[in-house]
């Protein structure tokens, strides 16, 4: 059994650049399928361009395919910049990064490692800063909004401590509909009857999320000292988010960047990243959600 997977494991571990192109093809395909605003031309062309880039060894052809795919992704972002999700920006950045990696040939891997680490560092740091300066987030209301409006978020778990929580969710859904359908001139406030534990849980989740984001930022900054632990923590972070909200595409991009950060001393992590990406996107495309902690 192990021998059957050996060629796959060797490919994942030893063909760094080629595997990144495979992962880019897979992730961009998933984004193209999911994003409603993506132009149809990009939806048709990008996966094929990626495929040609993967199977061709010629630098020029590979770079040309990646460049065209990236230009298509960027055109989508430029024409609809305030409608497309941040996923589209991220996958476009990754595409351009890979183009530079291919163009740089033997220096490509080092450049890609630097860019991947920088993008992940910037993502975590800037997301953390925006949380810290947002009164809505810091007051715990954002987390409360999620717990009260998204039945998939910890509802069964909370139900163990907060009696009748599932019924409360149903009532809040009715209140929300009532608020949405009320005339604009109406007093736009509706009372919520929630357990006193809900604000406490919301604050706990708020600070837990801040802690994890800060911890991940620290791990990325001290990557060279932590070695393989950097990657274990990134994968653990991805799993925590996966267990909470449906952000599989964005998480798969984080894994792709994690893979791109690996070097010879941490190549053991590569297989885990690839496994995570296929797990996340496989479940996304089939519509199955495990809701590990719901």
């Amino acid at each position: 059994m192990t021998q059957a997977f050996a060629p796959l494991r060797d490919f994942v571990n030893d063909r760094y650049a080629q595997m990144l192109l495979v992962l880019f093809a897979v992730v961009s395909f998933s984004v193209l399928v999911e994003q409603a605003y993506m132009p149809i031309l990009a939806k048709i062309l990008v996966p094929w361009l990626c495929l040609i880039a993967v199977i061709n060894a010629s630098r020029n052809l590979r770079a040309a395919m990646l460049l065209i795919a990236t230009v298509l992704l960027f055109l989508n972002v430029l024409t609809d910049w305030y409608r497309v999700a941040n996923h589209s920006f991220m996958i476009s950045f990754i595409g351009l990064g890979l183009f530079l990696m291919v163009a740089a040939e033997e220096k490509g891997a080092d450049v890609m490692r630097f860019m991947a680490r920088y993008i992940l560092c910037a993502l975590m740091a800037l997301a953390l800063v925006q949380k810290l300066i947002s009164p809505y987030y810091m007051s715990g209301n954002l987390m409360a909004d999620y717990i009260l409006n998204e039945p998939s978020i910890f509802s069964n778990l909370i139900n163990l401590f907060v009696p009748d929580h599932l019924n409360t969710l149903h009532q809040i859904n009715q209140i929300e509909r009532n608020l949405v359908n009320s005339p604009l001139t109406d007093t736009a406030t509706r009372p919520l009857q929630v357990s006193p534990l809900i604000p406490v849980i919301a604050m706990m989740l708020t600070y837990a999320s801040l802690f994890w984001q800060a911890a991940l930022e620290a791990v990325l900054l001290f990557k060279s000292k932590l070695g393989l632990w950097t990657h274990r923590i990134i994968i653990f972070f991805v799993l925590i988010i996966y267990a909470t909200v449906d952000e599989n595409e964005f998480l798969s991009m984080n894994c792709l960047l994690g893979y791109a950060m690996t070097d010879d001393s941490t190549k053991r992590a590569r297989f885990w990243y690839v496994l995570m990406i296929f797990f996340l996107l496989g479940f996304k495309l089939t519509g199955i959600r495990l809701n590990l902690i719901s």
């Binding site: 409608r83 941040n86 950045f93 530079l100 163009a103 954002l142 009260l148």
Partner: protein, 188 residues
């Protein structure tokens, strides 16, 4: 030619990589600034501000048609374009294919502007809405102040957002953007 470009990139790869990272940071900076100074949602625009403010699914787009009632007094009627008000769904199913397409277009425009309501796209929506002959179900006996048809300056576009204040035990709705075109229509 392409080979030469790639070789040039290769020879200056670290400079290009640093510039590229700088551009990513600049993009995020511009998005954060725009979000802080306008109604742009932090969920869009590449600013990594997801999960800081209510999602754009919590935003609703309305138009307020301003006119006069049967007694000649100033009056108005509010119509929710996104999500579509109940009467719009029934109306859209009952009208001709062209009419249905037109109603769908205005609904799509409303859906789109909730991410970044600004003067330009709200003005365009007001212009679009003024060209629709709204049924009595939507505006009752409301008449245009001047002439027989409503004009863009009769229409106010409003974007409202739903949010939760769990500490006060309330769910609230607030107007986050409001725009009414000038007499001439469009922005100045």
């Amino acid at each position: 030619m392409f080979d030469a470009v790639l070789n040039l990139i290769k020879s200056r790869i670290w400079v290009i990589a640093y510039i590229f990272m700088g551009l990513i940071t600049l993009n995020v900076g511009i998005q954060i600034y725009t979000h802080q100074t306008t109604a742009l949602t932090p969920w869009k625009g590449g600013g990594f501000g997801m999960y800081t403010e209510p999602h754009s699914d919590s935003r609703y787009v309305w138009i307020r048609v301003n006119g006069i009632d049967e007694n000649g007094k100033g009056s108005s009627a509010d119509i929710r374009l996104h999500p579509k008000a109940g009467f719009m769904v029934t109306w859209q199913n009952a009208v001709s294919r062209g009419g249905s397409r037109s109603l769908q277009r205005i609904s799509n425009a409303a859906e789109s502007l909730r991410f970044y309501p600004n003067d330009a796209n709200m003005s365009a929506l007001a212009d679009f809405a003024s060209r629709i002959r709204w049924p009595d179900e939507a505006i009752g006996d409301l008449q245009p102040t001047n002439g027989e048809r409503f004009v863009p300056s009769d229409i106010t576009v409003l974007v409202a957002e739903k949010y939760v204040d769990v500490h006060d035990g309330e769910m609230r709705r607030r107007v986050i953007a409001e725009y009414r075109p000038t007499e001439l229509g469009g922005i100045e």
